[in-house]
């Protein structure tokens, strides 16, 4: 019911003049899981897909998409970035910085750039990105650090953006958050916000060759403090070791217990068996268990 309350003014507001929103999308260069070749990162492509879906829903004139990437320019990077352009973007900014530079101050400078020019509303009020990167550390901390430094709202694990509407004094987004077990939760987010997109978000559209060729990569030197990320040099990443399978630990005090544990068959044996019951009684017992577990809606 509270949802309908927000949707009413929202629909009216989206049609009013001047309701224009800029969505920032942070894109990174991914790695294919098997071949390890550079490609668009899956989660970032999903984030861009959400932004593109908003643009097609609200009209091209109403939503601007400002995608940006921080990193060194190379053939591999360009090819991966062109994958994003092939999804229907016209331009994408590449903030050129060395690979070991901390991306956070660069992004902060980029996002605050418009504010510094005096036009406070011009910069993106909503930043979309994947939950974590596909290469490098991939700790997933960057969106949180960005939101904290900007003082924005942070939402993680988002599967869909249901609505974006102007509210009194700002914008509001209604998003669906992916919970485990395929469940969803509806959240109302006050913009400005950073939204990290989960694997539950819709599959990104295919990258088309023509738009990828025509799209423009806007190269500019990274602003802000070019701080070398000390963790990259201090704690290098190595190839992951195989985690050994956990063994079953038996803490038996006697030989008989140890033997029983070794020879035990996988079976419950403690279950309740209802024989000679009417179907109604059986159904009642099952429903009681379902209610106890809380799976019935």
């Amino acid at each position: 019911m509270s949802l309908e309350r927000t949707r009413g003014p929202g629909d009216a507001g989206s049609r009013s003049a001047g309701a224009r929103l800029e969505i920032g999308v942070l894109v990174s260069v991914g790695r294919h899981g098997v071949t390890e070749r550079a490609r668009r990162a899956d989660l970032d492509a999903r984030a861009l897909e959400l932004a593109l879906a908003q643009r097609s829903q609200r009209g091209v004139g109403e939503v601007d998409i400002a995608a940006c990437h921080v990193g060194a320019s190379s053939d591999e990077t360009d090819a991966a970035l062109r994958d994003y352009l092939g999804m229907g973007l016209e331009r994408l900014s590449l903030l050129e910085a060395r690979e070991d530079v901390d991306a956070l101050p660069v992004l902060l400078d980029h996002l605050r750039g418009n504010e510094a020019e005096g036009d406070k509303a011009a910069g993106p009020r909503l930043v979309l990105c994947g939950t974590r990167a596909e290469q490098g550390e991939g700790s997933g901390v960057l969106p949180f650090a960005l939101a904290e430094a900007l003082g924005w709202t942070m939402v993680s694990g988002v599967a869909a953006i249901e609505a974006l509407e102007p509210d009194e004094g700002g914008w509001q987004a209604t998003v669906l958050q992916a919970l485990p077990r395929g469940q969803r939760r509806r959240l109302r987010v006050a913009l400005p916000a950073v939204i990290a997109v989960d694997t539950a978000a819709p599959m990104p559209r295919q990258s088309a060759f023509g738009p990828a060729r025509r799209g423009h990569i806007d190269r500019r030197p990274a602003g802000g403090e070019a701080r070398v990320d000390e963790a990259v040099t201090e704690w290098p990443l190595t190839a992951a070791k195989v985690r050994s399978k956990r063994l079953k630990i038996v803490t038996a005090t006697s030989a008989r217990d140890r033997f029983k544990a070794a020879a035990a068959k996988a079976q419950g044996g403690t279950g309740q068996v209802l024989t000679d019951v009417t179907p109604e009684q059986g159904a009642e017992a099952i429903l009681a268990l379902l209610r106890e577990e809380g799976v019935l809606r």
Binding site: G136, E137, A231, E234, A240, L274, L287, L289, E293, V295
Partner: protein, 498 residues
């Protein structure tokens, strides 16, 4: 025999020994040997085990065992017989004490604190939480002369009557809504020395939770914060906390090793986001650990007392920014949820004859549909709904197997399910052995009765049929009738392969 004095003095309650009786019990050639044995044990039958005069345990092999089918005496040493014989005897106390031999550990004045924020899905500790508490124990117990204490931080969501998530028992994130005011069981066994309950609003409120953790940080300043690196529970909160504290958190932590060169005394191995690389670094203040990061605590029991009042944060926790509002859970079509992540599965096997009735039951109960291999091979269900070794390995909280006898491949597929319910006509099948609740009846009749009961509840609650359409109820009633009128189906579906 009237002259034999009993072992226990009736008046004083002190144990009194009768040497003559003991002598008779030892001498099995004595004509009153068996009587003396039973007198000593205080039970009717002959005793098989007793304490001798020098404190040795004496065993009487003649008093135990049974005569096997070929006339030989057999002694079952599996403990089943022994335990039964002992249950009512004087030895029961000794056996009971042996069951809980875990060392009890109390840490009065801890040198430092290790705070653990378990996810507690559905108000219970998960395996991931237990591993995390094991890791915390490891860190806290490193120096035996100055042990630290493990503090379990539990969020006490004030779940109101209008709480939209109260009925949902999904994993991390909605946990708070289900948290019982009585608290979470098993924190003492899992290794927590102290427990603190922080009041937070129900539902998804990471900002309020973060404020509560920061209040705890200011009063207690734990040496380490450990959170599970999973989903939107600990993974979300831990990153928020680390960023606020200005720490670079260890994410994807899966192993720690002692290292005196490191400031914290520990080095940790952290997986990268892709899982193909890892980084070895000193253990920071905030660490987000993967499942199986350490062994859970098994050998000891801990106090799990409430944190003392002067250390616990008081009053309301100021929230810096309120940009999030939880509008509650969204109804998800259970059929659209993948089998692997479904919470509640209704699976059909060879015993199901009435397929429309089965689909109706899944719809009425709000369950995701599954099937055994036979049902899929026969074309009743699509291949992507197959549960088992050749299909999908499921991890449902409740798995209802309708007419599935339980082939080993199928049982492998449901290994990770919490509760299994079997509806089957054959009481001897493997699924009934695996099940927590088994109903031995005709599957068709039981699922029809389930639908009828559920429809009645929904009608009562909502004043209507809910999302079920009207004609379903009529069909349900005659389906119950049909289910009853098919006794021949019972014998037919008794033997089938899943």
């Amino acid at each position: 025999m009237s002259d034999i004095v009993t072992e226990t003095g009736q008046d004083s309650g002190l144990p009194r020994r009768d040497p003559r009786l003991e002598w008779m019990a030892r001498n099995r050639l004595h004509p009153e040997h068996l009587t003396a044995l039973s007198r000593l044990s205080g039970t009717a039958g002959a005793v098989s085990e007793w304490m001798g005069p020098h404190g040795l345990i004496r065993r009487n092999p003649h008093a135990i065992g049974f005569v096997g089918p070929n006339g030989c005496k057999r002694i079952d040493r599996s403990g089943v017989q022994d335990g039964q014989g002992r249950a009512g005897g004087g030895q029961a106390g000794r056996t009971g004490a042996a069951q809980d031999s875990r060392r009890r550990v109390e840490i009065e004045a801890p040198a430092f604190w290790v705070a653990v924020v378990p996810d507690t899905a559905g108000g219970r500790l998960t395996d991931h939480d237990r591993d995390l508490l094991g890791l915390a124990r490891c860190v806290a117990d490193r120096l035996s002369e100055a042990p630290g204490a493990v503090l379990a931080v539990v969020f006490d969501a004030r779940a109101g009557a209008d709480d939209p998530l109260a009925g949902i028992g999904t994993d991390a994130g909605v946990d708070g809504a289900r948290a019982q005011p009585a608290g979470i069981d098993g924190l003492d066994e899992a290794g927590a020395d102290r427990v603190i309950r922080l009041p937070v609003p129900a539902g998804y409120a990471p900002e309020a939770r973060l404020a509560a953790l920061l209040a705890l940080e200011s009063t207690l300043t734990p040496r380490h914060w450990l959170l599970p690196d999973a989903g939107i529970g600990g993974g979300d909160l831990g990153r928020r906390l680390a960023v606020r504290l200005g720490e670079r958190p260890a994410t994807g932590l899966w192993r720690i090793d002692t290292d005196d060169a490191a400031e914290s005394g520990w080095m940790c191995l952290c997986r990268s986001g892709s899982g193909r690389q890892e980084r070895r670094r000193p253990l920071p203040r905030v660490a987000l650990a993967l499942a199986e990061c350490a062994e859970p605590v098994v050998a000891t029991r801990h106090a799990a007392d409430s944190l003392s009042a002067q250390l616990a944060p008081q009053g309301a926790f100021p929230v810096a920014r309120r940009g999030l509002e939880d509008l509650g859970a969204v109804a998800v079509d259970p059929a659209a949820i993948g089998l692997g992540e479904a919470e509640f599965i209704l699976a059909a096997g060879n015993g199901v004859k009435d397929w429309p009735g089965f689909h109706r039951a899944a719809e009425a109960l709000g369950a995701t549909e599954g099937a055994s291999r036979v049902a899929v091979d026969d074309g009743h269900m699509p291949r992507h709904r197959q549960v088992g070794a050749t299909g999908t390995f499921v991890s449902a909280r409740v798995y209802v197997a309708v007419g599935i006898s339980g082939a080993i491949q199928h049982l492998q597929g449901i290994q990770r399910c919490d509760r299994v319910v079997a509806i089957n006509a054959d009481p001897g099948c493997d699924m009934v052995k695996r099940a927590d609740l088994a109903v031995i009846a005709d599957a068709g009749a039981v699922i029809a009765a389930l639908v009828a009961a559920q429809v009645a509840v929904k009608k009562q609650g909502a004043g209507g049929g809910g999302e079920l359409n009207g004609d379903v109820e009529g069909e349900v009633a005659d389906q119950v009738e049909r289910g009853r009128q098919r006794p021949d189906a019972l014998s037919k579906e008794a033997r089938h392969v899943a």
